[in-house]
Structure formats: structure tokens, C-alpha cells
């Protein structure tokens, strides 16, 4: 039987406002437990929320970026449930009138094809605190620093058809929010979290299958694995004659399995109703217009520009524009380097590999865009070969110099382009290897091309790689043919 997986994602994105959505407390990550929870965050009696305008602006920006309607009078509602890390006993969220209406996110798949994924809505809400279950000897610790951190929850339609598509969608959301500068998108710090609604149906079926919601998945990799393992669980269940039940499940990354958390029957009745402490958020067209003007170039537009302006392939341009920081790095580097293709190759190649190797994000790269640009300049003017360039790159990466020029100078890596010096080396190698010279001279053109590599290698070795390879080839050809 041919199964089709149907996925909808709910993505929670923490906004990078300085203060919380309804209080003046700081949102900075990593402070001592409960040091960033003020009277409002602690839900002391008598305290009241005041909406952070920046969070509203951020949500509008996101809405504009996905071409969504902005609700001109959106309403905050209370979502009621008891939990120790939820101090008020309700989460202030949005339900009936979310700030961002229907929108569209275009995703690009491995094979280069694109699909439009519909966003049902996106709403503003406050984050809860954190419950810490370790280190408290059978008790739980509560840290309310995160309580009240602004979130937008982006709810997709069930338009995704594979774990890969889900990841592509999530990456695109990540790309959009980081481009907009409204979130740092750091999944490891929980700045972006995701719930996946997964169901399966036979291909060609119109009706959706019963869905399970997998809660709180916190990495791209886990999203992919969780969806795959959950879809397979449902397929196996149905094929064995069972039925999928609507429930909330938890993904255990250690065991790579999902486990039931609670069934639909046990689900909370959240008793949503408009929060009487907050007035409806009235948004003027003038605010939308001014935010539209502030809108930075978004990933799709940037990719197209990189293709046309720099003549890059769609593949290279996609890689470079997936993150705004990479695109900015590339453009800075390219401006100095003066060669877009070389710059793209170095950013997508050597730099990306080095970052991956050390598990570093681009912002933590020891090598700056200016430094890489300077390095490429020296490749272009033949000061160094591509091979030496990799040495210079390593040196700069390891902090052994402020610029490519400094490293080249200090290590004496400058390419030898002096005809006399290269000629001397060529003569020396020819004289030292008479047998190979004989062999070469006896060979036909086809074999000569292979044999000449031996001489080039010897000379590069003698010059520690610094001899200009073009000149070496040219002189070798001439001298061996004499």
C-alpha cells in the first residue's frame, strides 16, 4: 500500500525584544534562576500586563514577510490551565483574532522544486517558565526567567507531505525570522520550538487520517526523525489492523520513538476568553506602512538577486541566502574579493566545512569576511596558489595573523613568479631525473600529459608549493620538448 504522510507544524519563535511581552523584566538568556522575574511575571496579586509594542511590531513584520493579512483589531485571550511554571494559571495568548492571518511560505526541496505551504495564522503569546526536575531530590524547581518572554506561534495548514518538507519549512521559517531580526532562531536555547501534527492516509485519499501531536521538538534533526518514526508507527499500527487515536505524544530522541502523553479525552478545556486586562490591539495602516518600509530583503528575493547580480547558480545562491548572516558575510567578502564565484566557493566550501568541523555558527567564525576577501584577492592576483590559499586560510582560522597578507609575509608563502628562479628549479629537476625525461620524450601526447605531473610535483615540492603553477607548466613543456 502507498501511504502519504500529512504534517502540519506549530512553530514557536521567541522574539528578541529586550523586555518581556507584558512586563519590563529582561528577556536575556542564561541569568540566575528567577532573577529576571518581576512582580508581573510572578503574578503577584494586583499586577497587570502592559503590552510590549515591539512584540507587536515584530509580529506584524513576520506577517508582512509571509504576505499575510494583518488583523487590525487583534485580541489577547486567556488560555487557562494550572501548571507550576505558569504563574497566573493562564497563558495570555490569542485565539479568535490572532494578529497575523493567512499567509504563504515557499519551500525549496532537494531536487530544486518549490512548494507553497499555507500558514493558517500566527499569534502572539507569552512563554511559560521552566520546570526543572533534576537536582531537587524528588521535588521540582521552577525558574520563571522565561515566563513572559514574547513568542509568535506560527501555525501551518496540513500542507507538508514528508519529514523532509517539514524540515525545509522549518528552515524557511528560521530563515525568515532571522532575516527580519525578530528572533535569534537558536533552537538549542529554545528560541525556536516546534509541535508537529502527524497523520497518514492512503495515497489518493481525500480525508485526513487521525492525527497525533508531537510536542516540543527542539532541533531540525529531531523534527525529521520524530516525524519519520511517528508516521511509521501509525502505518504499522493501521497495517496491523489498529486505529490511530488522537493524542499528544512526546518524542524521545535517545530511543528514537514517540510516546503517548495524554489522549484527547484527557486534554484540557482551556476556557479561552478575551483577557479583560488588555484592550484589543488596534493597528493603524500607517504602522503597517512604516514597517513595510523597514522590511529587509528577504531570503527569496536575495537568492534571486544573487543569481542575477553575481551570476551564481541557484544552488550556490540558495546556500548563501539560507541565513542572513551567511549572505551578509558573502557580500562583504565578495566586495573585497572582487570575484563572486570564488567568494561563493570559499564561503560554501572551505569556510562552511571548517565551521561544521568545529560545530561553530557563522557568528562565531574566527575568520572574518574581510579576511577571507583579502585572501581571495591574493589568489586572484596570483600571489598565492589555491593550495597555498588553504594554508593561509587555516592560519587565519587559527588566529595566526590579522590578514592574508600578514600570513603570506610571515610564512614566506608568496608565490614564486620569477622566471629565472622557476627556470632554475625546472633545470634542476630535469637534470636530476634523466630516466623520467627519457620516458617523457618517448611518449605520445596523451601520455605526456600524465607524465608531466611528476615534474610539476617535484618542482612544487622543491618550492614548497610556492612556484606559480602556470609558469611551471609552461617552462616544463618548453624545456622537455627541447
Amino acid at each position: 500500500m502507498q501511504w502519504e504522510v500529512v504534517i502540519g507544524l506549530e512553530v514557536h519563535v521567541q522574539l528578541t525584544t529586550k523586555s518581556k511581552i507584558f512586563s519590563g523584566a529582561s528577556t536575556a538568556f542564561g541569568a540566575a534562576p528567577n532573577s529576571q522575574a518581576c512582580a508581573v511575571d510572578l503574578a503577584l496579586p494586583g499586577t497587570l500586563p502592559v503590552l510590549n509594542e515591539q512584540a507587536v511590531n515584530d509580529a506584524i513584520l513576520f506577517g508582512l514577510a509571509i504576505d499575510a493579512d494583518i488583523c487590525r483589531d487583534s485580541v489577547f485571550e486567556r488560555k487557562n490551565y494550572f501548571y507550576p511554571d505558569l504563574p497566573k494559571g493562564y497563558q495570555t495568548s490569542q485565539m479568535d483574532k490572532p494578529i497575523v492571518g493567512h499567509g504563504v511560505v515557499e519551500i525549496r526541496l532537494e531536487d530544486g522544486s518549490t512548494r507553497n505551504i499555507r500558514v493558517h495564522h500566527a499569534h502572539l503569546e507569552e512563554d511559560a517558565g521552566k520546570s526543572l526536575h533534576e537536582d531537587f531530590h524528588g521535588m521540582s524547581g521552577i525558574d520563571l526567567n522565561r515566563a513572559g518572554t514574547p513568542l509568535i506561534e506560527i501555525v501551518s495548514e496540513p500542507d507538508l507531505r514528508s519529514a523532509e518538507e517539514a524540515v525545509a519549512y522549518l528552515r524557511k521559517i528560521h530563515s525568515i525570522v532571522t532575516y527580519l531580526g525578530i528572533s535569534d532562531g537558536d533552537m538549542s536555547q529554545g528560541s525556536m520550538r516546534c509541535d508537529a501534527n502527524v497523520s497518514v492516509r492512503l495515497k489518493g485519499e481525500e480525508e485526513y487520517g487521525t492525527r497525533a501531536e508531537i510536542k516540543n521538538i527542539n532541533s531540525f534533526r529531531f523534527v525529521e526523525r520524530a516525524i519519520k518514526v511517528e508516521a511509521q508507527r501509525q502505518i504499522d499500527l493501521i497495517e496491523d489492523g489498529g486505529k490511530v487515536v488522537q493524542e499528544t505524544r512526546l518524542y524521545d530522541s535517545d530511543k528514537n520513538e514517540t510516546r503517548s502523553m495524554r489522549s484527547k479525552e484527557e486534554a484540557n478545556d482551556y476556557r479561552y476568553f478575551p483577557c479583560p486586562d488588555l484592550l484589543p490591539v488596534h493597528i493603524e495602516q500607517s504602522l503597517i506602512d512604516s514597517l513595510q518600509k523597514q522590511m529587509p530583503e528577504l531570503p527569496d528575493a536575495k537568492r534571486q538577486r544573487f543569481e542575477t547580480e553575481y551570476g551564481l547558480s541557484t544552488y550556490d545562491a540558495s546556500l548563501l541566502t539560507a541565513e542572513r548572516s551567511t549572505a551578509d558575510f558573502f557580500e562583504t567578502c565578495c566586495k573585497i574579493a572582487g570575484d563572486a564565484k570564488l567568494a561563493a566557493n570559499w564561503v560554501n566550501g572551505e569556510l562552511s566545512a571548517a565551521l561544521n568541523r568545529e560545530g561553530k555558527a557563522l557568528k562565531d567564525s574566527p575568520l572574518s569576511a574581510e579576511q577571507l576577501g583579502g585572501l581571495i584577492v591574493r589568489i586572484r592576483d596570483n600571489s598565492i596558489s589555491g593550495k597555498i590559499a588553504k594554508q593561509v586560510f587555516e592560519a587565519l582560522w587559527n588566529g595566526e595573523g590579522q590578514s592574508a597578507d600578514e600570513v603570506i609575509e610571515a610564512k614566506g608563502l608568496k608565490q614564486v613568479s620569477d622566471t629565472g628562479a622557476i627556470e632554475a628549479m625546472v633545470d634542476e629537476v630535469i637534470a636530476a631525473n634523466p630516466a623520467q625525461v627519457e620516458q617523457y620524450r618517448a611518449a605520445d601526447d596523451g601520455k605526456r600529459k600524465k607524465l608531466i605531473g611528476f615534474f610539476v610535483g617535484q618542482i612544487m615540492k622543491a618550492s614548497k608549493g610556492q612556484a606559480n603553477p602556470g609558469m611551471v607548466n609552461q617552462l616544463l613543456n618548453k624545456k622537455l620538448s627541447d
Binding site: 494586583g46 487557562n80 478545556d269 476568553f273
Partner: protein
């Protein structure tokens, strides 16, 4: 001293007839002597009050006297007061020392007011008789077998008993006006948004409003001046200019159009209260005002509408009292559910639990449309009734309550009858309008109150209208027998 008005005291303080420390001491002594019988205070902040009084006297000597400099007042124990227990008359908050002060408390302290203590109320302001307090029933100084009204019954009884010249109250469905009426005082519920709710423990957020309680309209004007104003910490407070209430009291009432809703003078109104109100209206006509009968056709829906909306909001406002961070926590909870269940079961009183249950029900899936949404629609109709009425008249007048103070224990077992005591006051909260109650006579030995309702932010006109009446009457200066 007992019958001194705020205006008298401020004049005396300004003239140097007495110091703040002297009168503060006298009120503290009176509380110590006589509050055992009335039970109007939950907490008396004796040392704090004397300290504030001395500071006020010093400020006055330095020529630095604020508008209420040295005036002793009491705060309803629903306002957070830094460093002082703020109980909301609940076992739940019996151990809660507020780490900050409400905006109202700060505003009045900045004006120089001296806090005598925190007054009793119905638990979480839920009640019309002050019988639901964890700290015991408050007694009406006019007859100690009677209730003082509620929920601001402690504030009302304290003033009526001469234990404080003025107090703050809060009014969600009549909680300032009804006890003012039952204790022979003047009390004003301002327009929703006129006074900050920050630091005032929420009962029903869309209805709650703080206001002054005192003997006279002039006193209320003086107090409101300092209480009112926009507060950026309360999103529902309004950035509307605060009028000079005391300065505008001397208004000629000729031509004032007073609307009399026929629904407020129907069966169920105690005849003696009806007579007192009619007599007061006759005085208004003598002053040149005109009275016209009007209709507020949705009046009878106000009580049911209120008893959906207020409990719905309350049910979630009170979720924060969960035994986790502050307040009452049960002994040895077995697990989280047990912690929640027993802390709330043991920490809340019956009426509070009743309203949480009603509100939870009204918001539940499957019932929301029939109750909460429907109530909101009715609320708009009620507001519209007033909007239409105010096209014809300047203010609306009627009795504040259908009956004078009832006996302690008389209605406590019948919540619906108790809820109907607020029949004339509740619609005003649903509409967000300002209204005051003032004494206009007696039903037997018990005070009768008349309510004046105004347009949004028309507190000035209400206070002036009441003040003009009080220039020609002395009901507001009568003292209760327990005030000897």
C-alpha cells in the same frame, strides 16, 4: 472628631488647629476602643501611621504640604500595601505581605495621606454583606445586628463608626455604593479607567473600579482628585484629564435634567427608601432641576448578565492563588494535584468557591456561547440603554438599594436574594459609568441612599449635584449610635 469631614480636617490641619499626629492618634485610639464591636479593620498599621503623620506634619512645616497632607484614611484590604499584610479578607492571603504598593495607595501617600490600616471586606470582594470575610462579619454602626453592606463594608463601617474620616473602596457591582447607602455615607464609583487598578487585587477586571468613601460629596471630590489619573501600568486606565472636582462643586443646578428610570422605582423597593428618594428629588426640583421619567429596558437582565461575566473573569483571575509561590499552601501535599486541590479547597471560602465554579462553568467548552458570549451581548444592550438615556438627561437618579441594611445571617444562605440587593448598582458597572450614592434619609433607624449616575468621566457633575443637595440637607452629617 467622629463627625468631622475630610474637608474639616484638612482645614484644621492647614490652620494649625491640630497636627496630623494628634488626629491620627485619636483615630487609632478610637479603633482600639471601639473596633472590637464593629470589626471594620483587618490590620491596623499603628506605628506606620504615626510615622507617616509626623512626616506629614514636618512636610507641612516646611511648606511642602500635599493636597491630603496629614489626613488619616483607611485602605480597603484589597489594595497592595508594601510591607503590610494584604489579605483580601481571605485565608488564602492571610500570610501575604505585599512587596509593592498599589497605584492608588502611592497616589494618596504622595498627596500626604496617612494610612491608619486595612479595612475588612467580603472575601476577594465577593459579597454584598461583608459576611464572607475570613476575618469575620463587619457590623453596621447604625445597628450592630445588621450588615454594613459589601464588599467595601469595612471601609463604610469604619467611617460610619468614626474610626476613619475616609477610606478607599472598590466597586465591581455596587461594592462602594451599596455599603455607603447602608451606612449613611457618600461613596463614588468612578468611570471605568478613571482610577488605576494596578495593585488592586482583581475580582472581575472589566468591572472593578476603585473610588472614595467618605461623609460628603466634597470629601469624595477631594479624595478622588488624588486617586484618579492615567497609569501606564494599567492598560485599561484612560488618559483623560482629571478635572478639578472640588473646585467645581458650586454649580447652579437650574436646568439640570435628571432621569428617573421607571425600572428603579418598581415593586420590591422598600417604601421608606422610595419616600426618601422622592423627597430628595423634590429638593432637586426646588434647586431648579427638572426630573423626567426614562426607561432602561434591560435593567432586569443586569443581575444575570453580571453573574456570568463577573464569575467568569474571577474564575481565572483567582487561578494565581495556587499555593505555589505565595499565600496559603496545604500541609504535606502528596503531589501537584493534591497541592492545588487542597490549597484552594482550604484557602478559599464558600462564596469564592461558588463563584469560581460558576465562572469556570460559564467559560467551558460547549457553554461559552450560551453564557459568556450571550452575557457580553446583553452587556452591550445595557450600555446602549444608558447611552440612549443620556441623550435626554444629564444624570440619572434612583435608589441605591431596594432595602436598608438587612440582618446579619438573614440572606447568607440564599445567594440569589443576596445578589438581588445589587439590582440598581450592577448595571452601572456593566456600562462602565460613574455613579455615587449619598444619604437621603432613613428607613426606620437605618440610612437610605440615593444613587446618581453620570456620563463617562462626568464625575465632576455628579459630585457637584450631590454637594448642592448636601448644602441643603444634613443626612450625611448624622452620626451612628455606635459612634458615640
Amino acid at each position: 472628631m467622629p463627625s468631622h469631614t475630610v474637608a474639616d480636617l484638612l482645614r484644621g490641619l492647614a490652620a494649625g488647629d491640630f497636627s496630623s499626629e494628634e488626629i491620627t492618634q485619636q483615630y487609632l485610639d478610637a479603633i482600639a476602643d471601639r473596633d472590637g464591636q464593629i470589626n471594620s479593620f483587618i490590620t491596623v498599621t499603628r506605628e506606620h501611621a504615626l510615622e507617616q503623620a509626623r512626616a506629614a506634619d514636618n512636610a507641612r512645616q516646611r511648606g511642602n504640604a500635599g493636597a491630603l497632607c496629614g489626613l488619616p484614611i483607611a485602605h480597603k484590604d484589597i489594595f497592595c500595601t508594601e510591607g503590610v499584610r494584604t489579605s483580601c479578607a481571605s485565608k488564602m492571603l492571610d500570610n501575604f505581605i505585599a512587596p509593592y504598593s498599589a497605584t492608588v495607595v502611592n497616589n494618596m501617600a504622595s498627596a500626604g495621606a496617612v494610612m491608619l490600616g486595612k479595612t475588612n471586606l467580603d472575601e476577594f470582594a465577593m459579597g454584598s454583606s461583608n459576611e464572607t470575610s475570613y476575618y469575620g462579619t463587619v457590623r453596621n454602626p447604625w445597628n450592630t445586628d445588621r450588615v454594613p453592606g459589601g464588599s467595601s463594608g469595612g471601609s463604610a463601617a469604619a467611617i460610619a463608626a468614626g474610626l476613619a474620616p475616609a477610606a478607599t473602596g472598590t466597586d465591581t457591582g455596587g461594592s462602594i455604593r451599596q455599603p455607603a447607602a447602608l451606612c449613611g455615607l457618600t461613596g463614588l464609583k468612578p468611570t471605568y479607567g478613571r482610577v488605576s487598578r494596578y495593585g488592586m487585587i482583581a475580582f472581575a477586571s472589566s468591572l472593578d473600579q476603585a473610588g472614595p468613601m467618605a461623609r460628603s460629596a466634597e470629601d469624595c471630590a477631594l479624595l478622588l482628585q488624588s486617586m484618579a489619573g492615567f497609569d501606564e501600568r494599567d492598560s485599561t486606565s484612560m488618559d483623560v484629564r482629571v478635572d478639578d472636582y472640588a473646585g467645581a462643586l458650586d454649580q447652579d443646578l437650574r436646568g439640570l435634567k435628571i432621569g428617573l428610570p421607571k425600572e428603579y422605582f418598581s415593586a420590591g423597593l422598600d417604601p421608606a427608601i422610595g419616600d426618601a428618594v422622592h423627597a430628595a428629588l423634590e429638593e432637586y426640583r426646588k434647586m431648579g432641576a427638572e426630573t423626567v421619567e426614562i426607561s432602561l429596558p434591560h435593567t432586569e437582565l443586569a443581575v444575570p448578565c453580571y453573574y456570568v461575566i463577573a464569575p467568569a473573569e474571577a474564575s481565572t483571575n483567582l487561578s494565581r492563588f495556587d499555593g505555589v509561590r505565595y499565600g496559603y499552601r496545604c500541609e504535606n501535599p502528596a503531589d501537584l494535584d493534591d497541592l492545588y486541590t487542597r490549597s484552594r479547597e482550604e484557602g478559599f471560602g464558600e462564596e469564592v468557591k461558588r463563584r469560581i465554579l460558576v465562572g469556570t462553568y460559564a467559560l467551558s467548552a460547549g457553554f461559552y456561547d450560551a453564557y459568556y458570549r450571550k452575557a457580553q451581548q446583553v452587556r452591550r444592550l445595557i450600555k446602549q440603554d444608558f447611552t440612549d438615556a443620556f441623550k435626554q438627561v444629564d444624570i440619572i437618579a434612583g435608589p441605591t438599594t431596594p432595602n436598608p441594611a438587612f440582618g446579619i445571617g438573614e440572606k447568607v444562605s440564599d445567594p440569589v436574594t443576596m445578589y438581588l440587593e445589587d439590582i440598581y448598582t450592577i448595571a452601572v458597572n456593566l456600562a462602565g459609568l460613574p455613579a455615587l450614592s449619598m444619604p437621603v434619609g432613613f428607613a426606620g433607624e437605618l440610612p437610605a441612599g440615593m444613587q446618581l449616575i453620570g456620563r463617562d468621566f462626568d464625575e465632576g457633575r455628579l459630585l457637584a449635584a450631590a454637594h448642592q443637595y448636601q448644602q441643603r440637607s444634613d443626612w450625611h452629617l448624622r452620626t451612628a449610635p455606635e459612634c458615640a
